[in-house]
């Protein structure tokens, strides 16, 4: 079921793009980038709801009623949670709307990883599986084996660059950095240190870059190309709304700017 619904279509789309690009050197990397753009286009409504949800949450942080309940029930978490839910309900805000696209990314990431490794077929057994994956319309005899070279990388292997004898994982660093920037930009500015939503977002903005950086460090670099492209598109998409919280990229910058005490 997983193969039929996720792996096979993804692999075939990747191969089709690769073939359309002329299946030469660097083209599989380009195919991953175009595939990522396609995925972002397909999940556009979800991403838009994430942006909208994040904006609503951001606006809520500066709302008087919201700030008041934070102060009033600072020591009664149960009551605070009830009041927060009431406000969410009254204003039609889904506090999890900004998390959903992130969750949806995971099957895509897993599927893409498996599609990339299957397409690149490191072993005869993988190649045989690829033979059973491709749809009849593919020009598979001509495009196999795929050229896994993209820029300085082998897309089938984890990436590193030798610097003074050390293997520097440049892609993993870029993945972690762009994930951090994206999550920080969409993170609602917190006015209250006890605000649980902001705390969750804060944790996500730390853990997600570490997690994706770890993936990039250990897995085929093709997946890193996906992460970076996806993150950059996310940043652009959010910045285009004009609501990007650029000050939050600097530690403490968001709080300084938004703190009600300074208003």
């Amino acid at each position: 079921m997983w193969d039929t619904l996720i792996i096979n279509p993804m692999t075939n789309v990747l191969l089709w793009i690769y073939d359309a690009l002329g299946h030469g050197p660097h083209m599989f990397g380009l195919a991953i980038i175009l595939f990522t753009i396609l995925i972002r286009a397909v999940t556009w409504p979800l991403n838009a709801s994430q942006v909208k949800g994040a904006q609503a949450m951001q606006e809520l942080q500066n709302d008087k009623e919201w700030q008041e309940i934070q102060k009033k029930y600072a020591k009664d978490r149960e009551k605070l949670a009830q009041e927060q839910m009431r406000i969410y309900k009254e204003r039609g805000i889904n506090p999890f709307a900004s998390c959903l696209p992130t969750l949806i990314q995971f099957p895509i990431i897993i599927g893409l990883y498996q599609s990339i490794t299957r397409a690149l077929s490191a072993t005869p057994y993988d190649m045989l599986k690829l033979a059973r994956t491709v749809y009849p319309f593919q020009n598979v005899e001509a495009i196999i084996p795929l050229n896994s070279v993209f820029l300085w990388m082998d897309l089938g292997r984890p990436e590193s660059v030798q610097v003074f004898g050390f293997a520097l994982p440049t892609l993993a660093i870029v993945v972690a950095l762009t994930t951090y920037i994206q999550s920080k930009l969409t993170m609602p500015a917190s006015t209250n240190p006890n605000d649980q939503s902001a705390q969750m977002s804060g944790m996500m903005s730390v853990y997600m870059p570490l997690l994706l950086g770890w993936f990039a460090l250990n897995f085929a670099s093709g997946i890193s190309v996906y992460f970076i492209t996806s993150n950059l598109l996310g940043i652009v998409q959010y910045a285009a709304t004009g609501r990007a919280n650029w000050s939050s990229l600097i530690p403490g910058g968001s709080k300084d700017k938004k703190s009600p005490a300074k208003k």
Partner: protein, 355 residues
């Protein structure tokens, strides 16, 4: 707060686990490699190379003694003229080892090549020719030292070189058969057959026969001239088999062909005993043996009539090997890693490695 943090960390850990589960080590998995001499079968089955007694089916030795993620053996081991057993690893480090076939003791181990060892080497005139997935053909002396600079061929090399007595023929996944002058160490011709070549060419008729993903078998001559001698309905994965004026080959549709090389006509039509055939065919005595992906082993007579069929179990991708009047089959994803049959199809023993 602590509870939420715990949930978040648990979720991220689960996500990491989910992705880790679909991760492979350097080269994730592949079917077994198989070779034999008159006393033992040598099975390259992932973490270990096993030597199996042909009389009893018992394990003689395994290499290494303990599983080590540095080692993943898939290429068929090769016996050299001076009594070494060579095996290349596709594990975390690309170790190429020489073992004593009687004891499994390591003679030497060298790490070279940027890619994995999925192809068996060839020993010719005391030089070991070892193709690597990095696209280079490495040349070693019998002590494991690189005798000459490796020859860059390009594409992943998955199959053992063959020789017609003068030239070497090395097939590449990038559609080329490279014809190499071993004395000068130069590529004299590179022939594009139009599809990836996963298995070794078969020497015969003053050249080699090459099956490929172009669903053809081509005859390639030492001067680089080549022609399609047969078209098939699907990919030709296993090495074709030349027997005098007859060429046997099978395809992924599971059809076994017998081509009269003299007249260019098929000796029989539509012999399709079972499932897809990835393994090379074996000719032993008067019978032709074919192993299908479904896990079946077939014996056919020279007219293409199925003499017997046995279910080995698992999936069979490894070419059967004949030794000491036994037909050895190495199934993949099966309880037993190796099974021996006599020529009448009676199972003599099976070998299941002890944990």
């Amino acid at each position: 707060m602590n509870k939420k943090r715990l949930i978040l960390i648990s979720f991220l850990a689960l996500a990491a686990l989910a992705l880790s589960a679909c991760s492979g080590a350097p080269v994730s998995n592949n079917w077994h490699g198989l070779a034999a001499d008159s006393e033992r079968a040598y099975l390259a089955a992932g973490s270990f190379v096993y030597a199996v007694d042909l009389k009893t089916g018992g394990e003689v030795w395994r290499y290494p003694a303990e599983a080590d993620n540095k080692f993943s053996f898939y290429a068929s081991p090769v016996l050299t003229s001076d009594g070494q057993l060579l095996a290349g690893s596709a594990g975390a480090t690309h170790v190429f080892v020489s073992l004593d076939p009687a004891t499994g003791r390591e003679n030497w181990a060298e790490v070279f090549g940027k890619g994995a060892w999925l192809a068996s080497p060839l020993e010719l005139n005391q030089t070991i020719y070892a193709p690597n997935t990095d696209g280079f053909l490495y040349r070693l002396d019998l002590n494991g030292k690189q005798a000459d600079e490796p020859i860059e061929l390009g594409g992943a090399l998955w199959s053992a070189p063959v020789s017609d007595g003068v030239f070497l023929y090395v097939a590449s996944l990038n559609h080329y058969v490279h014809i190499i002058d071993p004395a000068r160490g130069t590529v004299v011709h590179s022939v594009d057959v139009g599809g990836a070549i996963p298995s070794s060419p078969a020497p015969g008729g003053g050249g080699v026969y090459v099956g490929s993903f172009a669903s053809t078998v081509e005859f390639v001559q030492p001067d680089g001239a080549h022609e399609v001698v047969a078209k098939t309905g699907n990919w030709v994965w296993g090495t074709p088999l030349v027997d005098g004026e007859t060429l046997y080959y099978a395809d992924l549709n599971g059809v076994i062909h017998s081509l009269d090389l003299d007249g260019g006509s098929q000796n029989w039509d539509g012999v399709q005993p079972d499932d897809a055939i990835i393994a090379g065919l074996l000719l032993h005595g008067d019978q032709l043996y074919a192993a299908a992906e479904s896990g079946s082993l077939f014996a056919l007579d020279r007219d293409g009539k199925i003499v017997w069929k046995k279910t080995v179990g698992g999936r069979v991708y490894t070419s059967p090997v004949a030794a000491a009047d036994l037909i050895l089959v190495a199934p993949y994803h099966a309880d037993a890693a190796l099974a021996a049959y006599d020529v009448e199809g009676k199972q003599v023993w099976t070998f299941t490695p002890a944990k």
